[in-house]
């Protein structure tokens, strides 16, 4: 069930209403209902087979935690003092299970050259795996979830199930005992709706429309001029951010309507002055996970420059592989690792801030080409096109399918309008404005002011977004 559907909005309304009503009666009842709703969401999105694989993983984690923590019941929630006796063998076994499941479903095809492949991946498996690993790691370090009944929600919580944010146990479990869980305040309600509206608009009105331009460009690489290639590259950079951060905004908003706060996952990453800073602002929960669960255990930066560089490269190569089983993702991760090593060795403060920003943004743009490309050859072709001396303006076919009905409506009244340029310009202007806006939506939630202009603008944006969920699919008959 995609967030950008009427079905999801109906599901969300029913879930929030039902869980809050049940929670008002008894919090456990609300929790059970929320678990049931999350399970339903998982079944709708990935089918029962996804539920089976994920539930098995959750049971393995729960069993390992139970076995490992002998004094769990005696330890207060989020206690500063570690649990006395943690048998880490069980936790390690559970971690091996999770990594094995991830390897089988996601990487078997890649590592065997396609000889062995399951053919499907359980819904949200990559995020689920990292989240479970984080739980096991924190339990190994002495953390204990307050109640076993909270573990299913940690595994299946529907706003974060598909694409995160990856929840750190210490940030999630305590909230389930907080008085605001299932009893959100008026601030939470307003902020939650605000985030859902903003996130949906980012995803549907900006990211999806940028996707039209980007896909058109990638489908006709041979016909691109250099300016068009740059448009495609920049378009994908903006699309990816608006798509993923829009999703996270919706997830945060949905969680807030249930009285839960999700961690900030994006903090205006394209304003970064270095690649290192970029990773502190982009997919923050993944960076935190990799730092705490991989980089630090590898030794972090405490074992000399060479080892630090090797650790950074390892982390980013694995990050690339986690994003996708393919050479393009490895190259993308490797580039980011190498860039951070270069920054560390050369120093970050030598250049003026504007130049540092420009270099960082250009690097991030070029690296995303490998992230999006179907193969390395195609990535190099696009980059090569971008660097040629073919300065023809972008062709109008780049806008094919972009806001087509909005353009048709304009043409009814202004028949001579060059709508292709207008549409591309409008989408990029909107996307750049939102991407470089100093404050992100999740940050805005904490300082939300219920003003009239916000009401009007968000109402218009939300209505346009909902109306854009569905469209009349034009069938272009191949013979004509």
């Amino acid at each position: 069930m995609n967030f950008q559907t009427l079905a999801f909005l109906a599901f969300l309304a029913l879930t929030v209403t039902g869980c809050r009503l049940a929670g008002r009666f008894r919090r456990d009842a609300g929790l059970i209902l929320l678990n049931a709703a999350s399970l339903f969401f998982c079944v709708q999105g990935g089918g029962w087979k996804s539920v089976f694989v994920l539930a098995l993983g959750a049971v393995v984690s729960a069993a390992a935690v139970r076995k490992a923590v002998t004094q769990a019941a005696a330890v207060p929630l989020g206690a500063a003092e570690p649990v006395d006796s943690v048998d880490r063998r069980w936790l390690i076994l559970a971690a091996v299970w999770h990594l094995g499941v991830l390897a089988v479903f996601k990487y078997a095809g890649f590592f065997t050259g396609g000889a062995v492949s399951v053919g499907w991946v359980p819904l949200g498996l990559s995020f689920f795996t990292f989240q479970q690993l984080w739980l096991l790691k924190e339990v190994a370090n002495g953390f204990s979830p307050a109640s076993w009944t909270f573990l299913p929600l940690y595994a299946f919580f529907f706003p974060t199930l598909v694409s995160g944010p990856i929840l750190k146990p210490q940030a999630f479990f305590p909230q389930l005992q907080d008085g605001r869980f299932l009893q959100p305040s008026g601030r939470d309600e307003a902020a939650g709706l605000y985030a859902i509206a903003i996130g949906s608009a980012k995803k549907v009105l900006l990211a999806d429309n940028l996707g039209v331009i980007v896909d058109n460009g990638w489908n006709r690489l041979e016909d691109l001029s250099a300016p068009a290639a740059w448009l495609v590259i920049l378009g994908y950079t903006l699309q990816l951010y608006l798509d993923f951060s829009g999703y996270c905004d919706i997830a945060s908003g949905a969680a807030r309507l249930l009285g839960l706060r999700l961690p900030v996952n994006f903090n205006s990453p394209y304003r970064s002055l270095s690649v290192g800073e970029f990773w502190k602002r982009w997919h923050i929960t993944l960076t935190s996970f990799l730092r705490e669960c991989l980089y630090f255990p590898l030794g972090g930066s405490r074992k000399g420059t060479a080892r630090t560089c090797a650790n950074i490269l390892t982390v980013f190569l694995l990050s690339g592989l986690w994003h996708g089983a393919g050479w393009t993702f490895l190259v993308w991760g490797g580039l980011h690792g190498l860039a951070q090593i270069a920054e560390r060795l050369w120093g970050r403060e030598r250049l003026p801030a504007a130049l540092r920003w420009a270099l960082t943004f250009a690097f991030v743009n070029l690296a995303w080409v490998f992230f999006r490309a179907p193969n390395l050859g195609a990535a190099l072709k696009l980059l090569n096109t971008a660097l040629t001396a073919d300065f023809r303006p972008p062709a109008s076919w780049l806008a094919e399918g972009l806001l087509s009905k909005e353009a048709s409506a304009l043409l009814l009244f202004f028949p001579r309008l060059n709508t292709a340029a207008l549409r591309i310009g409008a989408v990029f202007a909107g996307a750049l404005t939102v991407s470089f806006w100093p404050r992100n939506a999740v940050g805005e939630m904490d300082s939300f002011r219920p003003t009239v202009w916000r009401l009007v603008l968000l109402t218009l944006a939300a209505a346009w977004t909902v109306l854009s969920f569905s469209g009349v699919t034009t069938f272009i008959y191949s013979n004509f």
Partner: protein, 370 residues
């Protein structure tokens, strides 16, 4: 609860109310104008036909007809009035361009739920008969064909249908709008002549391999099962199935691609299957030399004009080219003999080259490999 919190809660409720009100307004406009004809045929303005898949559901529901002609783009230019004239009844034509059998099944399911047609005439398009039935165009709006009233929301809350609502009103105010008989026709803007059919035909290179006889049989069987399912489920309806009359160029194409044996095997399977039902009859204008050899009927290697389509229906109504369980083997054998011995190169005559050379600097691309 402090004042600020109360204000936030009030803001949240106003926001929800405003969004719902705006969406209700948009849905109301779409419902009232109903550009896809889903709820009713308009009485105060003429419909504007813009999308077959989106508007066929409404046409099926709201245009009662004794004869329903259904098919791919091969029926697109046959006016409903031509079907009415041929079968002496009221008629409706449903076109699903490049339609998959799963899409026709949705349309037929809705048809038999909405009305009780006396006759369903189905144009069996050879290219769609033999292709993978699991393919989908992604263009079929399931929400307009299924039984679930809740997903009508996808039609009502839809910026494209909102746009078309506006467009329908504007078109009518400008004197536009169309009659049902003109729905989805592209006959008038198309050149139907020998030169055009040859000009647009990309003659394939001669294939070095020949497709095995059973290459298309699995797909054919699965696709045919959709039709036989209709025959069995609706014994009181008369089903007339006819093979769409592709031009002689289609046989040249099949020959050069090494598909001739496989196509004939599929045709044979279709004949065996479709002639076994009492309430179904099969016709083969595909083998009508008067139509398929006259390239002035065509704009490309398969699509024929509305006038040719009218002739096809008249011949079917008169019982010409009927295929039965008794005659299909000899009919197929005769046609195989005809198309395998046909002198295809003679199609490209002097008149064609005179016109081609006047408009082009190079010969047709295939000419180096005749």
């Amino acid at each position: 609860m402090d004042t600020f919190d109360k204000n936030c809660r009030r803001w949240a409720r106003r926001f929800l109310a405003a969004v719902l009100a705006l969406l209700a307004l948009c849905a109301g406009i779409v419902y009232a104008i109903d550009p896809c004809l889903y709820y009713r045929m308009p009485e105060n303005w003429k419909p504007v036909f813009f999308n077959e898949r989106y508007q066929s559901a409404g046409m099926i529901k709201h245009i009662p007809a004794e004869t329903v002609l259904m098919g791919t783009s091969m029926v697109a230019n046959i006016r409903p009035s031509a079907a009415a004239e041929a079968f002496h009844s009221t008629a409706l034509r449903i076109t699903i361009p490049d339609g998959y059998f799963s899409e026709f099944d949705q349309a037929a399911d809705l048809l038999f739920r909405a009305q009780d047609p006396k006759r369903l005439v189905f144009c069996l398009d050879m290219n769609t008969l033999i292709r993978d039935p699991s393919g989908v165009t992604g263009a079929m709006p399931a929400c307009l064909y299924d039984r679930n009233p809740f997903n009508d929301a996808e039609y009502l809350l839809n910026k494209d249908t909102l746009y078309y609502s506006l467009y329908v009103l504007l078109a009518n105010s400008w004197g536009g709008g169309q009659d049902l008989d003109e729905s989805f026709l592209w006959n008038d803007g198309t050149v139907w002549e020998r030169y055009e059919a040859l000009r647009t035909y990309r003659r394939p290179d001669l294939s070095e391999t020949v497709q095995p006889d059973d290459a298309f049989l699995a797909n054919t069987d699965e696709n045919l099962s959709v039709l036989t399912g209709w025959f069995q489920a609706h014994p009181d309806t008369e089903f007339i199935v006819y093979f769409a009359p592709y031009s002689i160029l289609a046989w040249d194409r099949a020959t050069r691609r090494g598909e001739l044996d496989a196509r004939f095997a599929a045709l044979e399977r279709a004949c065996q299957t479709l002639t076994a039902f009492e309430n179904a009859s099969l016709y083969a204008p595909l083998f009508d030399r008067e139509i398929v050899e006259n390239l002035d009927n065509y704009c490309d290697y398969i699509h024929h004009s509305g006038e040719a389509g009218r002739l096809v229906l008249q011949k079917i109504a008169a019982g010409e080219h009927r295929i039965t369980a008794q005659n299909y083997a000899s009919v197929l054998s005769d046609w195989r003999q005809f198309v395998t011995s046909y002198d295809y190169l003679s199609i490209w005559d002097d008149d064609f080259f005179a016109r081609w050379n006047a408009a082009h600097d190079a010969p047709p691309v295939w000419w180096g490999n005749p």
